[in-house]
């Protein structure tokens, strides 16, 4: 490692961190390489492993969505490799797309990926609370992904029941080609994922509580740390419930119990042996997990966006404490609204009234956050770097996607809009696209720290604009499809009169999807090219005040080493008047 990279700037005085055990040019033996890159207990390596796992999952997931779009527009087309897409193939793609994206991308990349890498560093710690538990968690997640994907290669193919796996069809093997082995593999995979997520959550919560450095009070934590902390709490509680539900469904499938199978059920004309259960019970248990899961996916995005808007506006976060309060409020309310997914499942009107009211109440903390973001950039010295562009894109998508939320929260409206493309458009904008934009923003922002090089700004801007316009071009028309009554999850609607008339909209969406997914290769090119050929990054290229930017890029293997930083300031001291720089590092002590 070059000497220059080992110095910290922006701190008062110059400190050289020398790390002995970080690999530089020393030849590593295979066993050492195995412990350093594969079975590493270093939180930075584990963070990168989660990041690349998500990257692999998002590639497969996007490819599946492309197949679905092509099938919807040209139902008779025979494609290379996959051939002609049959209805059961379409359902399998749909299930796997949803599962990969929700579990292995949106709850993995922002929380486990960036969180593992930067939570300890932002708190001024050199490691997570339980490094070996972390290692175990990653490898269980990896195993879960392999098991999930293996369903494509078994007879019958992958599960058809959607990422929600609604009972009773998911409990009965004879209900479709993928419902035998495919669904069993799905359940085993998600069960393992639950265990890994709980292990990760234990680590995140303990790290936040116990590994903060001297002076890093809870209200001096950068906002991403707050969101990782709250998302970990949600993840702990939600995944435990999903694990219980998964075990029960697995028993229904393998041991012949009837937790979720109602009596007197006929599937494909044949009576089902077990019975006496309740299919609605699965929906309750699943959505008790499923709604907090939305916030597990999007909370880290809220934190990253708040952080980046402040850095690139050179202004403190507007209303830091209100932001923390809003994060906590979203976390608490997230557990009380699961019923809004079940308005049409047969629900007591009083219960749906309560769920509706609570769901609408989430708009309050969300609006606080949006207001504070606008307050943060208001009058700031904006720097339109790629991470800033993606953060602004996040705010835009968060507002657009969020506005249709209160509509869907009305039981009367939801009766009509339920299971239409309106819902697809809504959750893709707010959860999928906003979540992904936060991941892009985080990648561009932390790339210099992770790999010691800068990403290309011009490619980044091109990628941003195509993706931004593409996201709206794909998902905004879906709202109109939904209002027109177009149901989701149907593979072919050419013979239904009123839906067939909507084919031009589908064609437009498909072309937009092809262009947008194609544009992601700009990102991949930028990522891998910059990793090896990008301009060298300094210690603190963005002029950011949090602790990870006091370390050299990439940080040494032992993090802060035996020099734990001492924190004197809040995380967002930008635009400081009277200083030669316009910001104060959190550990800068020269203030008097």
């Amino acid at each position: 490692m070059a000497q220059l990279d080992g110095t910290t700037e922006g701190n008062h005085g110059t400190i050289i961190y020398v790390s002995e055990d970080f690999p530089s040019t020393a030849q590593t033996k295979p066993l050492q390489a195995l412990r350093r890159y594969i079975f590493s207990t270093d939180h930075k390596m584990i963070g990168l492993q989660y990041f690349f796992l998500s990257l692999a999952a998002v590639l497969v997931g996007s490819f599946l969505s492309l197949l679905m779009r092509i099938h919807l527009t040209w139902p008779d087309a025979a494609l290379p490799i996959v051939g002609h897409i049959k209805p059961e193939n379409y359902l399998a793609y749909l299930t796997m797309h949803g599962t990969l994206m929700v579990f292995f991308v949106l709850s993995t990349a922002p929380l486990s990926g960036f969180g593992n890498y930067f939570l300890p560093l932002q708190l001024g710690s050199s490691e997570m609370a339980f490094p070996r538990l972390n290692l175990l968690g990653f490898w269980i997640t990896f195993l879960a992904l392999l098991i999930l994907l293996s369903a494509f290669f078994i007879p019958g193919g992958a599960s058809l029941a959607g990422w929600t796996q609604y009972a009773p069809l998911s409990a009965i093997a004879s209900s479709g080609p993928g419902q035998g082995q495919g669904t069993t593999l799905w359940l085993v995979s998600i069960g393992l994922f639950c265990i890994a997520s709980v292990l990760g959550a234990i680590n995140f919560i303990t790290t936040t509580l116990k590994k903060r450095t001297v002076g890093m009070r809870l209200l001096r934590m950068p906002l991403p740390c707050w969101t990782w902390f709250v998302a970990a709490i949600l993840s702990l509680l939600a995944f435990s419930v999903l694990l219980a539900a998964t075990i029960m469904l697995l028993l229904d499938r393998t041991a012949g119990t009837g937790f979720f199978v109602p009596s007197g059920l006929l599937v494909n004309g044949k009576p089902v042996p077990q019975g006496g259960g309740s299919a609605l019970l699965w929906q309750h248990l699943f959505w008790f997990f499923g709604h907090p899961e939305v916030y597990i996916a999007v909370l880290p995005g809220l934190g990253i966006t708040s952080h980046l808007l402040s850095v690139f506006s050179r202004k403190p976060v507007f209303g830091y404490k209100a932001m923390v309060g809003a994060i906590l409020a979203i976390g608490v309310l997230g557990f009380a609204v699961w019923g809004h997914h079940m308005f049409v499942s047969g629900m007591d009107p009083y219960a749906s009234f309560a769920f509706s009211g609570l769901t609408t109440a989430i708009a309050v903390p969300s609006a606080i956050k949006t207001f504070n973001w606008i307050g943060t950039i208001w009058g700031g010295k904006l720097r339109f770097t790629t991470p800033m562009l993606f953060s602004l894109g996040f705010v835009s998508l968060f507002i657009t996607g969020g506005l249709s939320g209160p509509l869907l929260a009305q039981p009367a409206l939801d009766m009509y809009l339920h299971d239409t493309y309106f819902v697809v458009g809504h959750f893709h904008l707010i959860m999928a696209m906003a979540g992904l934009f936060a991941v892009f923003a985080g990648t561009h922002f932390w790339f210099p720290k992770m790999f010691g090089r800068m990403m290309n700004e011009r490619l980044g801007a091109a990628h941003f604009w195509i993706t931004f316009i593409g996201a709206y071009a794909i998902f905004l028309p879906m709202h109109f499809l939904g209002i027109a009554g177009h149901p989701r999850r149907y593979s072919d609607l050419t013979s239904v009169h009123y839906v067939a008339a909507l084919a031009p909209v589908h064609r437009f969406i498909t072309w937009a999807a092809i262009i947008t997914i194609g544009a992601q290769f700009i990102f991949l090119l930028n990522l891998f090219w910059s990793m090896f050929r990008g301009a060298k990054a300094g210690v603190n290229p963005w002029g950011c005040s949090t602790l990870e930017w006091t370390l050299c890029s990439p940080p040494p293997g032992n993090g802060f080493g035996d020099r734990a930083p001492v924190v004197y300031h809040g995380p967002y001291e930008y635009g400081v008047s009277g200083a030669t720089t316009d910001f104060l590092m959190q550990d800068a002590s020269a203030t008097s």
């Binding site: 001297v214 809870l218 800068m454 001291e573 200083a579």
Partner: protein
Amino acid sequence: MSPITDHIEVERKPKLGGGGPGKTPHRYGFGGGDDGGDHHRPDDFLSRRDRLRRYRIGVLIGMVSVAVLFIGLTSAYVARAGQRHWDLDTQTSVRDWQPLVLPYRQLIINSCILLLSSITLEMARRSLVKRMEFSTLGILPPRLQTELPWLTLTVGLGLAFLASQILLWNTLRQSGMYLVSNPSSSFFYLLTGLHAVHLAGGVVVLLCALLGSWLRLRHQSQQITVDVTAWYWHFMGMLWLYIFALLYFVK
């Protein structure tokens, strides 16, 4: 990117913006945010205490997760127990939940075994704490490894509980109560089975601690392992009583 100057010279007190107030580091706060007072000397007593606390918090959070798992199952159990369905043949609303007939004598024996093992593990934990205090003062404790018999006894009792549970399940199966007989029996096997799986995890950890204690490996790690496993074990005992009460009261 514009270069950032490499040091700060502040002429007057800067206007502090976002984040928490105050300029001085905060030493004795809740949880982290302080260095536990050990001033970066990682090898002394305070750092060990900090490590123990960290592991205790980790296990506590793990226990929350297990508790939520069982709360989920409880809600399913209670909902199912009260459920009726419309029978098409008789055109009536029927409740097909058959109340459990449980062998209470055996269940009470099992409970006693588990509670007894909690006491023996607590004895092991306390003897380790005592030894830790001695070694902190730099003296060897008068009697080494007083925890060994208690640990062995706990592992024995834990295995006895698991064996007794298997016997219980066998008895029930012989009397015609299978996993799939009725929703009530499904829930019985699910609740007790998952409890047994969690307890078996505790037994495995204790076996590792016992082995390490016997080989006199890194007694600090043994102490932490036994300490947090004791917490977990007591929690398992409480959970068992809870399951017992649930099965008894909600039929």
